[in-house]
């Protein structure tokens, strides 16, 4: 089967929210294997909430999340553990364990989840750190790193078990433009060299245009998906005003939105 025809994640009729209060209703979408899929939308539209449901931190209010052909939303015990080892997550602030060095952060999942030889684990840690250009900082503690370094180290940890899918929560948040660009390049290189599927939650337009194969727009008003497509095409041809405004960085309700992309 070709990669384009397979789906890494399939979401069916998913209701997301907290304590029976749904923020997003009836979501249906697929993430294809090997693609960079961006979940975008204005602040408060439920992007991060959806991510929490996708990675199993929150149980769905309704519907299901199928991860590599297995129903993740209903899996429990060993099956759930097994599915969880197949994806990695880069949290907004890196979420490195503060009492461990960078190398120890990356090594911990390998020590706990694999039966690999100590020397091989050491080599793998160095390899993962080199992939994100953090090998010189292996012995540093998270408190000694800058925001961008923390994210790169967090990415090395997320990649420790060669996951099939990597999730990113606001990867550009708090980074200066060059660091943000470096992280974008790193994400693309991870996909290109390892074939990993990337699901990225962000509202950074420069990142969206730079990395996304497909993007999905959520809005607070619709409590769901407005459109899925290629960002550049959506910016020009979307029938939805909210999508055009968002992707053209225009204030909401600006009547010039259509005029602007038409003249481009």
């Amino acid at each position: 089967m070709k990669a384009e025809e397979t789906n890494a994640i399939v979401v069916r009729n998913l209701d997301c929210g907290y304590e029976q209060k749904a923020l997003l209703r009836g979501l249906n979408f697929e993430v294809r294997e090997g693609e960079i899929f961006v979940i975008m939308g204005e602040s408060g539209c439920g992007k991060s909430t959806l991510l929490k449901h996708l990675i199993g931190l929150n149980p769905p209010l309704a519907g299901e999340v199928v991860f590599l052909g297995r129903d993740f939303s209903r899996a429990c015990g060993a099956e759930r553990d097994e599915i969880q080892k197949r994806f990695g997550v880069l949290y907004q602030g890196g979420a490195l364990w503060s009492s461990l060095t960078v190398a120890e952060n990356v090594a911990l999942p390998l020590i706990e989840h694999t039966g690999l030889d100590k020397e091989i684990i050491r080599e793998m840690v160095l390899l993962k750190l080199a992939q994100v250009r953090m090998d010189s900082y292996a012995h540093f503690f998270p408190s000694e790193l800058s925001g961008g370094m923390k994210k790169r180290a967090g990415l090395a940890r997320a990649m420790a078990l060669d996951p099939k899918v990597l999730f990113f929560d606001e990867p550009s948040a708090g980074l200066d433009p060059p660091s943000s660009r470096e992280l974008d390049d790193l994400m693309k290189s991870v996909r290109d060299t390892l074939g990993t599927t990337l699901v990225v939650v962000t509202h950074e337009l420069s990142s969206i245009y730079a990395i996304a194969d497909r993007a999905m727009m959520l809005t607070k008003e619709s409590q769901g998906i407005v459109e899925i497509g290629k960002p550049a095409e959506m910016a020009k041809e979307s029938p939805h005003e909210a999508v055009r405004h968002f992707l053209n960085r225009m204030p909401r309700g600006d009547p010039g939105a259509r005029t602007k992309y038409e003249t481009n």
């Binding site: 590599l68 080892k85 197949r86 503060s98 009492s99 390998l110 989840h113 694999t114 039966g115 690999l116 030889d117 020397e119 091989i120 684990i121 050491r122 080599e123 793998m124 160095l126 390899l127 993962k128 080199a130 090998d135 010189s136 900082y137 292996a138 012995h139 998270p142 408190s143 078990l161 060669d162 996951p163 099939k164 060299t193 390892l194 074939g195 990993t196």
Partner: protein, 381 residues
Amino acid sequence: MEDVQIPSADAEVTAPPSLRLQREEGSLSVFFDGDWIWRAPQPALLALEQALAKGVSEVCCHAEGVKQWDSSLLALLLRVRRRCEEARIAFRTETLPPHLKGLLENVPEIHWPQEPPPEPAGLFRSAGLGAVKVIEGAYRALYFSGECAQALAKVCRHPKALRWPQCRMVMQECGPASLGIVGLISFLTGCILAWQGALQLRQFGAEIYVADLVGVALVREMGPIMVAIVLAGRIGAAFAAHLATMETSEEVDALRTWGFSPVQFLVLPRLVALTCMMPLLVLYADLLGIAGGMAVGVGVLGLAQSAFLSETWKALHLADLQVGLLKSVVFAAGVAGIGCATGLKAERSAEGVGTATTSAVVKSILFIIVVDAIFGACSRP
């Protein structure tokens, strides 16, 4: 080779990984077979290590038999390559799968950075560092006390300067919310004192003096100490954790940049609330403790209730109560001050919050015991 998959943890293990070594003159051929993925049971690498150590001039890796692989195989090859480089052995990878070979060639010469040198040890150095720490701590405590005194003086001049709503909230937490635990501990302390006292006094037929023992010990010593220790664990720790979290999330910085004094805004309401509540809690604890002693006296020793109360009344002097209440005020100021000061100087991390909380409780208990000893030394025998 084209059927070799891109590394991922997705695949199931179909054939366990294995390693075969073949030696021809100075050349060592390493054959990898099966699924080289971390999920598979890993073969022992001792034979490979030993073979590399036995003077070969060339190592050639073959992976025709590899069905699936991930970065664990890449790491193993990197390990072999590193060993070859160290021993000046030629390392050949012509027969590796193209993707694996490409990745291996693209991985630059990576080496572990040098670990930072350990801190020099030595008795004099440790003693010196300890002394500096004590002096710094004393200076900080003095400075913080001065800030608190200054803020308190301001509040005395302008009572509205104190944040009363927050003060009331802390009072509720320190006072009414602590009644249950303080009451239970005091009652049981009274029972224990009476029981232990009775065991000794019975030998002289002086059981009635259990009332004197319980009354004086509780009002002068045990009441204030027990309440202070309970509040150090319950309230002092909460103060430290709350302020340390505020420090971590830059809330304290925000106060400073707006020109607000963290001591005025955060410390003083807590200090005032705890200092107001502690004496009241000590009075309550004294009463409950005496009730506990009376329960043992009447229920176990067979003393008359009126006799017990009258003996207690006779034994207690106003000075005992005054000393107990004075101690409670000093303990309250100490517990609140230590909790807040420790929280405000916490490191900005999850670990820092935990350390500050533990440190606040330990320092508070030490403070309570030392101050009680000073009170004991100053009072007449």
